[in-house]
């Protein structure tokens, strides 16, 4: 241990959680910029936003909402499980969460490729010929769901890391900050979707 850093990290799990909460605020503001742009254009082109929203498949959207809501529940349950030292249950619940996230992404993939099939993507000929409001609607659709999907992927990676850390005994019933923060992140992913879903799919 000679020369090893006895760098007392005075940090505690409270600090870790506070840091995570502040980080989540920055994420909210990041999406906030998009919601702001949405608000401006929705006010300007409300009729065209309605016709644009009619193009989206509300059924897929609803399914995805259900997936995310349930996954939020399972990740919360896994946190309780680990606090009660039921490691296997926690592992199972995290795996279920990741699977639900994968289902969400799969739906998203089909949804997007369906639109790509009709050449409905930013910059395409079809898109260019739409009315202005619809161009912006689909621009926002791709930007918001795209950025959200990136967050889902990051969340999946975080949760997978937790699987390994629990197996290797780094995340335990007395030291579960990583899982708690990942769960917080996952709730963020969920809550942003809760707003994106009605704003894009349900405004017809």
């Amino acid at each position: 241990m000679a020369g090893q850093i006895p760098h007392t990290e005075q940090t505690d799990s409270e600090a870790g959680k506070l840091g995570m909460w502040i980080f989540l605020f920055t994420e909210l503001f990041l999406f906030g910029g998009l919601f702001l742009v949405y608000a401006v254009f929705r006010a300007k082109y409300s009729a065209e936003f309605h016709t644009g929203a009619a193009e989206l498949n509300a059924l897929i959207g609803t399914l995805n909402t259900v997936f995310l809501l349930v996954s939020s529940m399972t990740i919360a349950m896994s946190l309780t499980a680990i606090q009660k030292n039921k490691l296997n249950l926690a592992l199972l619940l995290i795996t279920v969460t990741i699977l639900l996230a994968a289902l969400f992404m799969m739906n998203k993939y089909f949804e997007w490729s369906h639109k790509f099939h009709y050449k409905l993507y930013p910059g395409s000929e079809v898109m260019r010929n739409l009315p202005h409001g619809e161009i912006l609607f689909f621009g926002l659709y791709y930007m918001m769901t795209g950025l959200h999907a990136v967050h889902v992927l990051v969340g999946m990676i975080l949760l997978s890391v937790n699987l390994f850390k629990i197996r290797s005994g780094k995340v335990t019933s007395s030291n579960f900050l990583l899982l708690e923060n990942s769960a917080l992140y996952w709730h963020l992913v969920d809550i942003i979707w809760i707003f994106i879903f009605p704003l894009l799919y349900l405004i017809t």
Binding site: G3, Q4, I5, P6, H7, T8, E9, Q10, T11, D12, E14, A15, L18, G19, I22, F23, F25, T26, E27, F29, L30, F31, G32, G33, L34, L36, V37, V40, F41, Y45, Y121, P122, G123, R128, P131, H132, G133, I135, L136, G139, L140, Y142, M143, L147
Partner: protein, 546 residues
């Protein structure tokens, strides 16, 4: 205390000599010690600063005579863009929190490190990546970006130059800034020494606290805005393109929602530094402690709601124009409160006119010129006349360079003995200050004058009547450059051969002066317990008697 200041003294190993897990250069590059990270920022920022200074000087040379002097117009466009991007995103926004915040925040609140040391190192590498990308944008690909640092659409969506490089650089730098701010907020919340309540915290940490919140809450907006411009360029997504139904003015709103608060990211820590310097060199408690910290928070808060004053000529409604103009004037109040407090701190004190105080006093002077001309710009009628003229250029250089820059120099002269354990040469420092101050005013003051007369900013060419102003300005630029070189020479030389610094050369009373110079690896053997308000120059103070 003073016998402990000797580096070679067996009592402790200074952080500079401490090696940890890795040897040699890696003991720096992979160190999570906040002090080493602070120094790495210092060195990198100095290098980038001189890159941007040279770009600025080239611009000044071009402007010494009307017409083409040394470069093509397109080169000039590239120069002012990259000068702005480097100066703003790589230097003035991160510099003070990253250098002095990293180095002194934990020490001043009696902690051994920041809350998340690894994250801190990660921020540094994000910073370095962004900075290098920014410089690369000048050389790689399709030529230097030419949009100006503001990336205004529609031009930034259409320009055939390397705009994406520059946008990505700014995005990464923003992320680094967020993480630093987050780290500091948590550090201040969780790691103050026992007994240090919020109102016993020195004012530099307070300024960093206010800054941290702006970094965290405003930077994501620029992040998403830059992403939207990238999407605009790559995917023609149309948010800012009128031919697809978008709105270019919307970009300006989003851009300034961040970039105006960013001005306070620049100036608040600068104010924090001079607030440390005035009490020490007057040997008197700071005047109006509470007023200063509340005004920091007030500036941070009101600063969010004034962005529209950048857009008075962009066609926003009359109602919002007077609203933003009014709020802009409101910001002057907390700023003025601080100025009065600094002056009152000196009043009746035993003033010791050392280089740090010289720089701090010139900070007040230059900041006030910058501030008053800011009110000229904030007034609706006057704004129409001076909008986008070199008056604006002079105004923000007075605030950013005269304010933040001179405060950085003040902080450097103040804390240099603590950081490196050596004293610098006072005489050279004073001479360099004189040259810097003269050069600075010669460089920027004429730009106020020709600005009012109608010299536009960002123009490569100008009418002959503006030449006198431009010539004086260019001469000033070179004088300033000589001063900067002299100052840096003094530091570099003193770091090697300067006199050994005592633990407390200025008789300061904040915590950083109670530990040896340079500080040991973990700052404090025993975490101090705080029993009084800060800036308590009591008669029982051991520093005074030494």
């Amino acid at each position: 205390m003073s016998d402990m200041s000797d580096k070679e003294n067996g009592n402790y190993i200074s952080y500079l000599r401490y090696q940890g897990k890795y040897r040699g250069i890696l003991s720096w590059l992979l160190s999570t010690d906040h002090k080493k990270i602070g120094l790495m920022y210092l060195y990198s920022i100095t290098v980038f600063f001189f890159v941007a200074v040279v770009l600025g000087l080239l611009m000044r040379l071009e402007l010494i005579a009307p017409g083409k002097t040394i470069m093509e117009p397109q080169t000039y466009n590239g120069l002012f863009t990259i000068h702005g991007i480097i100066m703003i995103f790589v230097i003035v926004i991160p510099a003070l929190p990253a250098i002095f915040g990293n180095f002194f925040l934990p020490i001043m609140i009696g902690a051994r490190d920041v809350a998340f040391p690894k994250l801190n190192l990660f921020s540094y590498y994000l910073f370095l990546t962004g900075a290098i990308l920014g410089v690369l944008s000048q050389f790689a690909g399709d030529g230097p970006p030419d949009t100006g640092w503001t990336f205004y659409v529609p031009y930034s969506a259409e320009s055939s130059t390397n705009v994406i490089f520059a946008l990505t650089a700014a995005f990464i730098l923003g992320f680094s800034s967020i993480l630093t701010g987050l780290n500091f907020i948590v550090t201040i919340h969780r790691m103050r020494a026992p007994g240090m309540g919020w109102f016993r915290m020195p004012l530099f940490p307070w300024a960093l606290y206010a800054t941290g919140w702006i970094q965290v809450l405003a930077t994501p907006i620029i992040g998403i805005t830059l992403l939207m411009v990238i999407a605009e360029r790559v995917l023609s997504i149309g948010f800012f393109d009128p031919s697809l139904g978008g709105d270019p003015v919307l970009f300006q709103h989003l851009f300034w929602i961040y970039s105006h608060p960013a001005v306070y990211i620049m100036i608040l820590p600068a104010m924090g530094i001079v607030t440390e310097i005035f009490p020490t060199f007057s040997q008197k408690p700071v005047f109006g402690y509470t007023a200063i910290l509340i005004s920091s928070l007030a500036i941070a808060f009101v600063g969010y709601f004034v962005w529209g004053h950048h857009m008075f000529t962009a066609g926003i409604s009359v109602g919002s124009r007077w609203f933003f103009s009014f709020l802009t004037f409101i910001v002057a109040i907390p700023s003025a409160i601080k100025v009065f407090n600094w002056i009152s701190t000196m009043y009746g004190g035993s003033i010791d006119l050392k280089p740090p105080l010289l720089y701090a006093i010139s900070f007040i002077f230059l900041f006030m010129i910058g501030g008053f001309t800011g009110l000229t710009l904030g007034a609706l009628a006057a704004n129409i006349q001076v909008h986008d003229t070199s008056f604006v250029v002079a105004h923000f250089h007075y605030i950013i360079f005269g304010g933040m820059g001179f405060a950085t120099f003040a902080g450097m002269h103040y804390w240099f003995p603590k950081m490196f354990g050596r004293m610098y040469n006072n005489k050279i420092a004073n001479i360099a200050w004189g040259i810097n101050f003269t050069g600075f005013n010669l460089l920027y003051f004429p730009q106020f004058v020709i600005g009012i007369q109608g010299m536009p900013r960002r123009y490569f060419d100008y009418l002959p009547q503006f030449q006198t102003g431009h010539v004086i300005s260019t001469i000033g630029g070179f004088i300033l450059f000589i001063g900067l070189i002299l100052m840096v020479y003094n530091f570099v030389r003193s770091k090697r051969v300067g006199e050994i610094a005592p633990a407390n050369p200025w008789h300061g009373v904040t915590l950083e002066w109670q530990i040896p110079s340079p500080p040991p690896h973990e700052n404090f053997d025993i975490i101090p317990e705080i029993k009084t308000k800060p800036y308590f120059f009591g008669s029982t103070d051991e520093n005074k008697s030494s």
